[in-house]
């Protein structure tokens, strides 16, 4: 199958919105992240703008993963977690990313895994681990915050063999 775009990174950009550098939390420095990872603001004892993995809230998503294959053996290797920085993306973007929930929340808890079927035009939120998803995981998990009303993106192209199972999104953050 011939693909229109080689998808060698976690998240690639078809239209660019707002982007700026932010500090990432110690948890993210240790745990790493994929390109397209959703993040939310957290407090810091220092005078800095600090983000952590999203749990459904958002400030935006990180463009580049902390340890992507394409960065190996280059000056970018490990540079983001080393310096505690990431590039936060907000506003309106058109992206294609593999950082989305492939399986339903319930099936990820107890199995067997059941695929999330994404449909073009569908509204998306961030999951409890900050990946794009069609499910309201606050509601499904009994989170006291109730329903997640933070609409952040809509599906432009559903995952398929043709696009390496990436999802294409129009963000609205």
């Amino acid at each position: 199958m011939i693909k229109n775009f080689p998808r060698e990174r976690d998240c690639f950009v078809l239209f660019k919105g707002d982007a700026y550098p932010v500090s990432v939390s110690q948890a993210m420095v240790v745990g790493g992240w994929q390109g397209g990872q959703g993040v939310q603001w957290v407090d810091s004892p220092r005078d800095e703008f600090l983000v952590d993995y999203s749990d459904g809230l958002y400030g935006g998503f990180l463009l580049w993963g902390s340890n992507e294959g394409s960065d190996k053996y280059t000056s970018l290797t490990g540079s983001q977690p080393l310096y505690g920085l990431g590039t936060l993306c907000a506003g309106g973007w058109l992206i294609s990313t593999r950082t989305f929930e492939r399986y339903t929340y319930s099936s990820r808890q107890i199995g067997p895994l059941v695929e999330n079927n994404y449909v073009v035009g569908e509204r998306l939120v961030f999951s409890l681990r900050g990946w794009f998803t069609r499910e309201d995981e606050w509601f499904l998990s009994g989170d006291p915050r109730g329903s997640n009303g933070y609409f952040i993106a809509s599906v432009v192209q559903a995952p398929s063999v043709d696009n390496d199972h990436f999802i294409t999104l129009q963000t609205s953050i």
């Binding site: 939310q40 603001w41 703008f49």
Partner: protein, 171 residues
């Protein structure tokens, strides 16, 4: 010790949309701090005029009318004199001292009760156009309620940032 110099009312870390607007006679007379929320009002002729926000918004004014940083420069009092200002909207990342420090109810009747901001709090503009976590349109019984969502808290006020509020705007 603040790591970023905050010698103005509103600092911009990421710039969204900006445009020049005409300020109302009330604003020209009363002045405003940088970061002041504004709303559109009907002008005379072909003007785009803003005045102090009451919860509605067109954006916020980047520079205050009489900031210390402008004194003894060509910018001294220039905006109110010529009745113009630079309005920001869209997605910005800012740090500003123009936010409500006390709850709406306590500002009316006292004693003053501090507003405690947390990261990711949803923000609105207050009835006088300052950033706040309270929906003052609803609290005041305004027929225009509810207030519009205008941004998120990106950095809470603290000694390390000279008690400025970090905001990711969404206007």
């Amino acid at each position: 010790m603040s790591e970023i110099l905050r010698s103005r009312d509103c600092l911009v870390f990421f710039k969204g949309d900006s445009q020049t607007v005409i300020v109302s006679p009330q604003m020209a007379a009363g002045g405003w701090p940088g970061g002041q929320g504004v709303r559109w009002v009907q002008g005379v002729g072909d003007e785009r005029v803003v005045t102090y926000s009451n919860g509605l918004y067109g954006g916020f004014l980047m520079w205050g009318s009489e900031e210390e940083g402008d004194l003894f420069t060509a910018a001294t009092h220039q905006q109110p004199h010529y009745r113009y200002a630079t309005m920001f909207s869209g997605g910005c990342l800012i740090s500003t001292s123009s936010y409500e420090r006390y709850t709406y109810v306590s500002r009316l009747g006292g004693p003053l009760v501090p507003l405690v901001y947390s990261s990711n709090d949803i923000l609105y503009l207050s009835l006088r156009g300052l950033w706040t976590k309270e929906d003052e349109m609803s609290l005041s019984g305004s027929p225009l309620a509810p207030a519009f969502f205008t941004g998120f808290v990106a950095q809470i006020p603290k000694a390390a940032n000279k008690l400025f509020l970090g905001i990711q705007t969404s206007m």
